[in-house]
């Protein structure tokens, strides 16, 4: 398993960031901190997909002219890039709606801590 750390550090970084995001969402009681954890989870998954699309000696997926057509091994895999574009934009929309909910909760209960809100709701 030592070669993972040496030759594939992207997967180790993905695991660290993903678990850090989950830990913050579960343990922290501040609502905005939980949203920071959610953002970390989303970007770590995007890192994982981009790592799967890398090709050794490959360049960016913009084709040079068709007169000198290069084989598909010379370009990075474009399909995960497309999926991750959608993921980033959907992630920021989710963040906007979550922040609107946080502001509405603050307007009602005047605090951002989860246990205080639950206490005031009773």
């Amino acid at each position: 398993m030592a070669d993972i750390l040496l030759y594939r550090p992207h997967f180790v970084a993905f695991i660290i960031l993903f678990l850090l995001g989950i830990y913050i969402m579960v343990v922290n009681l501040n609502l905005v901190k939980k949203l920071i954890g959610m953002y970390l989870m989303q970007t770590s998954i995007i890192l994982f997909f981009i790592t799967l699309a890398v090709k050794r000696d490959g360049t960016i997926p913009i084709l040079v002219s068709s007169a000198t057509a290069l084989p598909p091994e010379a370009y990075a895999n474009p399909l995960p890039h497309v999926l991750m574009l959608t993921a980033i934009v959907v992630g920021v929309s989710t963040l906007g709606v979550s922040l609107a909910m946080v502001i509405a909760l603050y307007r009602q209960y005047n605090t951002l801590e989860e246990d205080e809100i639950l206490g005031k709701m009773k």
Partner: protein, 179 residues
């Protein structure tokens, strides 16, 4: 982009993420999150994903930071420190097991950079070969996003519009009129 550059940027990104979550003042946390986004965008540009890096730098590091800062201006920005030893120990234990399992599973993943790995076969090589003659577009990511997978992009644009509607509806007051 050599492996050393990957190492450096990954290390910086992880350090920024740790800084964003273990800081008490939420303003500092959010701005450190923006720095984390920028380092990730640099890393992806180096790995060949230029469209994704552009979008992350503009949308992720730009727009989401603006939303966070506006929300923090209108609410409070200090976090209360609690002692929750039991919850933290349980979370660390279970997430540690999950991390170990994920590390075990990542041994079977393809080597980074392998041009013969499974995600690079089938449809993806067809897109790379035929995109210029079928759609007149050298940028394969735009061609796939807008033409070959245009239905998904229609759904994504609808999701953004629905999020805008939801934000407007959530923060309505009793004396508000319709736009």
């Amino acid at each position: 982009m050599t492996l050393f550059d990957d190492y450096l940027l990954l290390l910086l990104a992880v350090v920024m993420a740790l800084g964003a979550v273990f800081v008490r003042d939420l303003f500092s946390g959010v701005l450190t999150l923006a720095a984390y986004s920028f380092f990730l965008a640099l890393l992806w540009a180096g790995l060949g994903a230029v469209d994704v890096a552009f979008t992350e730098a503009v949308v992720g590091a730009g727009l989401s930071t603006v939303f966070f800062l506006v929300a923090l201006f209108l609410t409070s920005h200090e976090e209360k420190v609690r002692k929750q030893l039991q919850v933290k120990i349980m979370a660390l234990g279970s997430l540690g097991c999950l991390g170990f399992l994920l590390l075990f599973g990542s041994v079977d993943l393809p080597v980074v950079g392998d041009p013969e790995s499974l995600p690079s076969k089938h449809v993806s090589s067809h897109y790379l070969r035929k995109s210029l003659e079928e759609t007149d577009t050298p940028n394969v990511v735009t061609a796939v996003l807008a033409d070959y997978r245009g239905f998904d992009t229609l759904g994504e644009a609808t999701v953004i519009f629905t999020a805008g509607l939801a934000c407007w509806m959530l923060l309505r007051r009793r004396d508000d009129s319709a736009p």
